[in-house]
């Protein structure tokens, strides 16, 4: 499949998955703290060769789309831009000695499992931490932000790993 079409499809599917499935999961009282997000996987899946500017623009764009769906004013976009900006540094941080295969886009099969787990985990913590900080907008309630970040990140990572096993083809 043409890679452009593939990424456009991923873009649409991930947004719909986020707003129509993941956001509708009801966990009773726990859903006050567990607000998982999976759509940021789009930015994590972009190829390693993509430039910083394009990366950040796409991150901003998908964040804005989710903002429009959830009627939040720029909060998702802001968190996504942080993620897009820091992805190159994140990859540098967790890069194994032999380096990444630059031709493959990051997925659970193209990377070592523990490295992929760290990649998604760190990205998820960063995304949620920024998002909840912007949302609450004061540091006196930092424990609330941390609790929300921790709970939401764990569930998000589990969902993303599950999605990887269900959708990515082993090569």
């Amino acid at each position: 499949m043409n890679p452009i079409i593939k990424y456009v499809l991923q873009f649409i599917v991930l947004i719909l998955l986020q707003v129509l499935v993941v956001d509708q999961i009801s966990l009773g009282y726990a859903s006050h703290f567990i607000i998982p997000a999976v759509y940021f996987l789009f930015v994590l899946m972009l190829p390693l060769t993509v430039s910083n500017g394009v990366l950040m623009f796409l991150a901003f764009f998908i964040g804005m789309m989710v903002d429009v769906f959830k009627s939040t004013p720029g909060m998702h976009a802001s968190a996504m831009v942080v993620l897009g900006y820091s992805r190159p540094y994140l990859l540098k941080l967790i890069e194994p000695r032999e380096g990444f295969d630059i031709l493959k886009s990051p997925s659970i099969y193209s990377m070592r499992k523990d490295i992929y787990f760290a990649y998604v985990g760190l990205a998820s913590v960063m995304f949620h931490l920024w998002y909840f900080t912007v949302e609450v907008m004061r540091f006196s309630d930092f424990h609330v932000i941390l609790l929300k970040t921790l709970c939401s990140s764990i569930i998000s990572v589990l969902l993303i790993i599950l999605m990887q096993y269900l959708t990515v083809k082993r090569k």
Partner: protein
């Protein structure tokens, strides 16, 4: 100059990052505390509204039974208080004439096609818009209690700022004492609770007392259900109580709502602006 260009080039992605964040924060701060502000784009637009509606058409079937039951109860309730929503205008000699009563509030049935309850800036989208004369600043009630206030509408959809939004504020009264305060959704509240402030501390507020709308801004009729008192906190050194309430409406399962159009709202607003 050359050095400056080099500097900008070297840190180009950081400047790009700052640029994007600036855009995001402009959106964020232009929406804070703006009751009348229509945000740049929200879920009332045609594409997102259409997608949400298609999805809710499917998911709506799953809780049809309980919804029908609630509507039955509400119907019975409404029949009982049918006269409450009318204003008596003949004040001298009673004449038997239909024009004695003027209908003040119109109700329009609508369906919630998307709602969020987990964040701090939650939102609700309903499937009625300007085509059905739904305008910004109308009250929305559910089957059990008030839901929120409309803030912007497209042709077919309307975005509602729910009670569980951190910028929401509405005047309410304590049913037994008739003393009034404001209902807000504070950081300590989740989607099942809210906080009433500005009730003086000599008022005897008991657990389980009803908190109703005051109807002061003309968005809701007087006496619409808001919630029940859950706990009362008397803060030392303050003259007001902090009353925590259980919301009457369950924001985790809302489907059928009614939009309220107050025919006399314009008159009320004119009166208020003449006062100033």
């Amino acid at each position: 100059m050359n050095n400056l260009l080099k500097f900008i080039q070297k840190y180009s992605s950081f400047f790009l990052f700052l640029g994007f964040q600036l855009i995001c924060f402009v959106f964020l701060f232009s929406s804070v505390n703006s009751y009348h502000h229509v945000s740049f784009a929200n879920s009332s637009n045609i594409i997102t509204g259409g997608i949400y509606e298609a999805s809710s058409n499917v998911s709506g079937y799953f809780n049809l039974t309980s919804e029908v039951e609630q509507l039955r109860i509400q119907n019975a309730d409404l029949k009982k208080k049918l006269a409450d929503h009318k204003v008596f205008i003949g004040d001298d000699f009673a004449s038997i004439n239909d024009t004695n009563y003027l209908q003040q509030f119109d109700f329009l049935n609508a369906k919630i096609i998307s709602s969020y309850k987990a964040g701090r800036k939650n939102s609700i989208t309903i499937n009625k818009g300007t085509k059905n004369n739904v305008k910004p600043e109308m009250g929305v009630v559910g089957t059990k209690g008030i839901i929120g206030i409309t803030t912007s509408s497209s042709r077919h959809y309307t975005y509602v700022k729910p009670l569980i939004h951190e910028d929401f504020i509405l005047e309410v009264i304590h049913e037994n004492s008739k003393s009034f305060g404001f209902v807000k959704w504070m950081l300590s509240d989740d989607w099942r609770t809210a906080t009433v402030v500005d009730i003086p501390n000599y008022v005897d507020v008991k657990l389980g007392d009803k908190i109703l709308t005051r109807g002061s801004n003309g968005l809701f009729p007087m006496g619409e259900m808001v919630g029940f008192v859950l706990s009362v906190e008397d803060i030392p050194g303050e003259v007001y109580l902090k009353v925590k309430i259980n919301l009457a409406e369950d924001f985790s399962s809302i489907y059928n709502v009614q939009v309220i159009d107050n025919i006399l709202k314009k008159e009320l607003e004119e009166l208020k602006s003449n006062q100033n």
